[in-house]
Symmetry: C2
Subunit: 320 residues, 2 copies
């Protein structure tokens, strides 16, 4: 991964994606005692940065590959990002989702024009279903993070951050982190454009595979991959492609509690007027509650939320 | 009011205000059967377009007038817009608010650096308090809508809409309307930049003074000015300056129910991931539920929300 690849992705996708605003509010600055800037990827098309990576990957395919079609596994934001990106390039999309995924996520994915194939998590193997579709129909699999063009697409968010922070030379950049595609893209872009910025992964407590991997120097796994409201960013381990990038470019990981994620959602509601999901609020939570030890006076945090459950949001509002 | 004045205001304030995004979502387009574009002024600094007008008016004052200080009457978004705009120009600000205003609105205004003077609505006259401050201390009064530089500032939102709709030549533009400052500014900008666009005021049912004034050709008043959740945009009548502009440039008014405003807040939450207050959601409500009779295939609606109450938002979420 390198800056040229991210710039090339930006050239392909910039008229399709939305340039998201960098938000701020005096109350948040006062709370933290530092300047807090929030990169609002919840305002990205489909509600998350996943649309950047999906659009980058699909736009990089040959016309013939696009005509054969795209396949992806996801129960969340990657599903919707791939579905809509495929629709924009007239590529048929098949998304393989667990049969017990929330109905609204299935419907959102179908609304973006994708065919959804449901599988039973107990008795079926999604990789097998995917492999059969690739073999029989010639579909191209778009992985959620371990894909060079997906990472390059996520990196376009880093280019935007750099352009939106003219005059700021030092900052800690906190990024919500699952498999590490978003973080490794942003870190690659900023290493070139803002050498004084340091990027950090933010994960839920108890699901800090990336933070532990950065400490041990090898890929660590989570003991479990469910049982936390930040489900959108929980993956078993960092990726084979993303981990070396993060190891080379990123500072130590931060973790936050579920309650801190909910409180960050409430603060984003009240002071920024944007809607985040728990997994998309962990970086803001870390910015608000876990940055007193960082030397930088400016904190930049990503926020996103492609699938925000109203009942979960009501829990967050009760934190106010 | 004319386009040159709006362009001059834009030149003064563009580095201070935020250019807000024009959002969209396939679900909303499908619901309406038209293209729906949402100008997200809830993402403006302080949460509403009022910051544009206040910044325009204060930036147009002489340095001596700014040093003497600013005064405004408001219990809501205008208070916060003036408070922060004054702070940015190092002008002392005094905001006169009713003593029974919600505590959060008073605190927000103070957080932006203003001195808040509370008055008793039953026994005191706010105009008298304001007149005394103007006479004794030489403060400059910034009215919420009947002020040429305020209208020019609100018009900068129209310049942004024009720049964000390249390739679109016909649209109905629905604007949340109280005294008409926002609408007359936007209509003036678009009359020049987008002659194929038609602007319409949107008001709550039973508080449609502007719609009735446009029909009768003279300034009509509301029978009451309280008792509706859309309180942010309820004013007694259109302004002396704003009404002739709206009469010259705008199409007929639309009205929406309280329930429709709440449903629009819920749709904005779910599909656009932004937070609106009821009064700031009426234009989106009209776009979603009241535009089948309009000939245009594209509807543009403003949305804003500087003071969003969590309990009110929970009511909206129950509409999902």
């Amino acid at each position: 991964m390198n800056i040229d690849r991210i710039r090339a992705a930006h050239g392909r996708i910039k008229s399709t994606i939305r340039e998201t605003p960098l938000l701020s509010a005096p109350f948040l600055d006062d709370l933290v005692g530092k300047r807090v800037l929030v990169k609002a990827e919840c305002l990205q098309i489909t509600g998350s940065f996943k649309f950047r990576g999906a659009t980058s990957a699909i736009s990089a395919l040959s016309e013939a590959d696009r005509q054969h079609g795209i396949v992806a596994f996801s129960s969340g934001n990657h599903a919707q990002g791939v579905a809509l990106a495929a629709q924009k390039y007239d590529a048929p999309a098949t998304i393989i989702m667990p049969a017990d995924a929330p109905r609204v996520k299935i419907e959102n994915t179908q609304a973006y024009g994708a065919e959804v194939i449901l599988y039973d998590r107990a008795s079926e193997d999604r990789d097998e279903i995917g492999a059969r579709l690739v073999a029989e129909k010639g579909l191209t699999l778009i992985k959620p993070f371990d894909n060079e063009e997906v990472i390059a697409g996520q990196g376009t968010c880093g280019l935007e951050i750099a352009a939106q922070t003219q005059g700021i030379e030092e900052a800690a950049v906190l990024v919500c982190c699952g498999g590490g595609g978003f973080l490794s893209g942003i870190a690659t872009a900023l290493a070139d454009e803002k050498p004084g910025f340091t990027c950090h992964p933010v994960e839920p407590e108890g699901f800090d595979d990336v933070a532990r991997s950065l400490i041990s120097g090898r890929i660590e796994r989570n003991a479990q991959t469910s049982g936390n409201i930040c489900d959108a960013i929980i993956s078993p381990s960092p990726g084979q492609i993303t981990f070396p990038i993060m190891q080379r470019l990123c500072g130590p990981g931060l973790t936050v509690s579920e309650e801190e994620a909910l409180r960050a959602m409430a603060m984003a509601f009240e002071h920024l007027r944007v809607v985040a999901e728990p997994g998309g609020a962990v970086a803001l939570a870390a910015a608000l509650f876990r940055t007193s030890h960082l030397p930088q006076d400016t904190i930049i945090a990503t926020i996103s939320g492609g699938n925000v459950d109203a009942a979960m949001f009501q829990r967050a509002l009760e934190m106010l």
